[in-house]
Symmetry: C3
Subunit: 175 residues, 3 copies
């Protein structure tokens, strides 16, 4: 799925003065969704697109600082955090989780096959100028503050900003 | 994720004589998918877009009348209904369901944080003129008749209608 | 959800010299995702659209030859294959799987209601000229070779090709 990683037969990128836009709404915190999200985002950027990823609901987990423990001031928020371990190194799979064995297998395979990790893809996305927007409403809902999230993100935004962007985008995806 | 609910930094809406279109295919009956679906739909409408949500497969559960019991003439349809409790008040989470504790926590948090419930968002969507289309084929498949679904919906439609609409839409999402 | 299967109220198709394009990224191997993917793809083709489905991650399972056993040279790849039984006849449901009882019920209902099976929809898609692209990177990751997949597919491709296509497409969906 990634040109940033494999030989590719695609047409070469054409940078235009007003770059084409891609917007991805990342609402899942699963490893098998984080991967396509970030592979599409970085590949789009490599093809000269102006890419924004809007992280909402469980997708915020992808942006959580690894060293942050249970977040939230409310026991209910902390309980959601207990069961939804997050951060780029801790994502689970939507299938075959097996108490963590599935993700370990998948990550080991990815490493052997030269596929970038979620952390590497996040770093790459930031280097390539992919805009990473955390969703303000779900941050509030889950008790996540700005300092619980990794550095280099854009300002938290709302659904209206995402919609304004998608309206003018050539590609909009909900993952 | 919602401007209808939170302070917002987005560009102001521009109503055009021929409004921009947004189409969402709602194929999941999970609370954590129903929320973004309806938040995006109502926010799009608030921004002057012409919004249609096409409910298919498990997504039909969002439209089920709360008082309707097990639906279907066939034991298999009723069995799907047993395990797929639905209606705007009964949606589960795709993660952390815990026999209903997860959704209860999430809904409690949403209420405290001033986030609208699925029922409120459905009501709001209807008031704002969002078109809600149930999918005829999956209604037949699951043994759901028009009277099992909430009032105020548009006529049941098929994939062809959804495709005709998406072809001319500025934003098309599958959630 | 399908006009290829049910009476339909949609506007008639208009073939243009340069057909409108639809691209679907099929990243899930669940029966309840394979169905909408292939119903939308075949309906789009019936409406005169130029349709491409890009199968990646678990979505590759939809294309797996039924007679192929555990695939992969690595024990980890074979283990993923054990737990992710695939091929058009073996897809599970994202909900209500119940060790296979859910899919059996769903498939039985579909047959009674005249809804095409995944295998029939795949055959139909190929007849209608829908392009089916397996994702090279995830084939490598999962140890799937071209001969493990059904006949009639297009050449394996990467994310860059999918992005180039979506950039010019009227409809792009991630399912």
């Amino acid at each position: 799925m990634a040109d940033t990683m494999t030989e590719e037969t695609a047409a070469p990128a054409e940078e235009s003065p007003q770059a084409d836009k891609m917007v991805i709404i990342a609402a899942s915190g699963d490893l098998d969704k984080a991967w396509p999200t970030l592979i599409l985002a970085t590949t789009g950027a490599a093809y000269g697109m102006d890419v924004t990823v809007f992280f909402t609901f469980w997708g915020l987990g992808i942006l959580k600082r690894p060293e942050v423990g249970l977040t939230g001031e409310d026991w209910r928020q902390r309980m959601l955090a207990v069961f939804h371990q997050a951060g780029p190194h801790k994502l689970g799979l939507s299938k075959l989780h097996f108490a963590g064995a599935g993700p370990k297998i998948m990550k080991g395979l990815a490493e052997d096959k030269g596929v970038a990790s979620v952390q590497e893809l996040l770093d790459l996305a930031q280097e390539m100028g992919v805009k990473l927007w955390p969703c303000q409403m779900t941050m509030d809902l889950m008790g996540l503050a700005r300092e619980h999230l990794i550095d280099g993100l854009d300002e938290p935004a709302g659904a209206g900003s995402a919609i304004s962007l998608m309206r003018d985008a050539e590609i909009s995806l909900f993952i």
